[in-house]
Symmetry: C2
Subunit: 349 residues, 2 copies
């Protein structure tokens, strides 16, 4: 079946309308009519081949929500008409330790929602900037939010799980003082989620202008990280820091804010390395610098259910598919509050 | 009371015989006649002022064993004649969270055995390259090894606890595959301890010549880290890595050997930074890079008891005090198996 999509034919070309095909649903497949797709910074990196190995045509998009339009004969968990989501993962080996632990995101054979290997044409996966997608039932999530919130649910599938997973893994909860560094697509979700988990949330931003916005998102305190005096007041005070900033920056400034045994977890990978962190900062308080990547499928479902229960969605700006190139340019300037979401109905135009 | 010691009068001078004074034991003090003192790389850094802020005269030494020769009126845990040890810590605030948790090593007011603040003359603490030391009972450890092993027990007070503490904190035990990087004063203890804890131990060394020695210490496997093929065979296979190498080196080569959720803990701080570790290496397997510094007093006692029970001591080369300058030079060349220990009886000469 041929459907409409938006993508790029080469790294130096803008995104444009494309016609792509999707496989007919197999026995374990779910066919989804895509309603909305969030716009992640990874989409831009991939489509411009800023990460190695982009295959063209490239159709980005891994924050997908929509409605089931067909299911394979052996699908039991989803039925036609259900509201569902698909995140960053559409396949994995299904039998390694990671898959057995429900951590498909750490499977060595994890297949990304775009640019991953697949027997389907054109030989690599094509993402959610499209009208439809066909995905193995294991990687399809149930959406329990009201349908009116569906567009704002889309970013939960990447920005939400990428921040929820480390907050859970490092056991953030009441009596925890948690830092969230960066107030963008990921950071704004980190603030909302950590707040809902009962933690005392301290948001860190480089811009004075984001102070009020961070409070509105749920931060109990806001620190402008360029202000050394403000930073010094938080030395040794945080149990955990979720660092969402992918641009190279001084990690020591934040590591020094952790209590003994505290962990700072990075969820963004910079294109060029951060300045090397001082080992002294780790050793003197038994601190850890860690990384975390997306989250597993069961945990993604748990996150969606947690968000539905707590009334959490992303703050979004809706765009048409033909506004995507402009949206990328604005995203590079940080000009988005806090996530663009493509209305995939606009693809039909 | 004036006693004999060995130390330096300035950063550019060799160590020489010095006369120093010790306070009379207070109500909670233990006076120890020092039998042996281990020679730690930190001693050399401090005495040569390679770390900021060395105060002179500087008497190094924080791997102290000996016999109690007097106790204050309120001392209950130690009595004259007992075999005891003193490590890196001789005081702390005693009431912060760290002290209350028995982690005096992370107390912001921890007083090092040398170069720390003290009301005693000359205003900074003087270490174990001396005939006697007077220490608050809280920081005095019981030695349960046979007296014949006393000299080989000395290095447990720093090299032993510095490796024992992270192995315990990160719960190393049976069914764990543990890497120990570097086979020097700390690393040789790390191998012995991890082995005694029941782990499968993989030792990493840069020198082919240390292969057999590492096996003799208790390593089940030995990898020459300069050999890329050997290293590649261990990718993603280790639960925990204890990295004892203080010289700047490529951390990524070792981080890549950790399983998902594995931790590499650094116990040495380089004078210049390590090359910045790749965030990608942390994120893709939720790995952690951590630091650990010495250990608390209760854990130091636990370590000494564990070593006594398992018959573990350090491998040492005994020297006279007047051989210390030569020993430093040899230590810088890695020419020691694996720890020099000063026979403090030689100070009387």
């Amino acid at each position: 079946m041929t459907i409409k999509a938006y993508g790029a034919r080469a790294s130096n070309l803008a995104l444009e309308p494309l016609a792509i095909t999707r496989r007919a649903p197999g026995e374990h497949d779910v066919q989804i009519d895509i309603a909305y797709c969030g716009v992640c910074h990874s989409d831009l990196h991939q489509v411009r081949s800023e990460w190695a190995g982009t295959l063209y045509p490239c159709v980005p998009g891994h924050e997908i929500v929509g409605r089931v339009s067909a299911v394979g004969a052996h699908v039991s968990g989803h039925k036609v008409g259900d509201l569902v989501g698909v995140g960053c993962i559409v396949d994995s080996c299904k039998h390694c330790d990671e898959c057995e632990d429900g951590l498909e995101n750490y499977c060595d054979h994890m297949v990304g929602t775009y640019n991953g290997p697949t027997p389907d044409a054109p030989g690599h996966t094509l993402g959610g900037y499209s009208q439809q997608i066909v995905v193995h039932e294991r990687y399809v999530l149930r959406v329990r939010h009201p349908e009116t919130q569906l567009a704002s649910v889309a970013p939960l599938l990447c920005a939400g799980i990428t921040t929820y997973s480390p907050l859970r893994h490092w056991k953030v909860g009441p009596d925890h003082k948690v830092g969230v560094v960066g107030i963008g697509g990921l950071g704004h979700m980190g603030i909302k989620l950590a707040n809902a988990m009962g933690a005392h949330v301290v948001a860190f931003t480089t811009s004075e202008s984001k102070r009020e916005a961070a409070r509105a998102l749920g931060a109990h305190e806001v620190v402008v990280s360029r202000n050394a005096d403000e930073m010094a007041a938080y030395a040794g005070s945080l149990d955990f820091i979720l660092n969402t900033v992918a641009a190279p920056h001084d990690l020591d400034a934040f590591l020094a804010l952790l209590k003994r045994d505290g962990t700072m977890t990075l969820v963004g990978a910079p294109a060029t390395p951060h300045p090397s962190p001082e080992v002294f900062n780790l050793i003197t308080k038994r601190r850890s610098l860690a990384g975390s990547m997306i989250g597993g499928i069961p945990e993604t479902q748990e996150m969606l259910d947690f968000c539905a229960e707590h009334g959490i969605v992303a703050d979004i700006e809706m765009i048409r598919a033909d506004q995507i190139n402009e949206a990328y340019e604005r995203m590079l300037k940080g000009d988005v509050k806090y996530r663009y979401v493509i209305d995939c109905a606009s693809l039909a135009a």
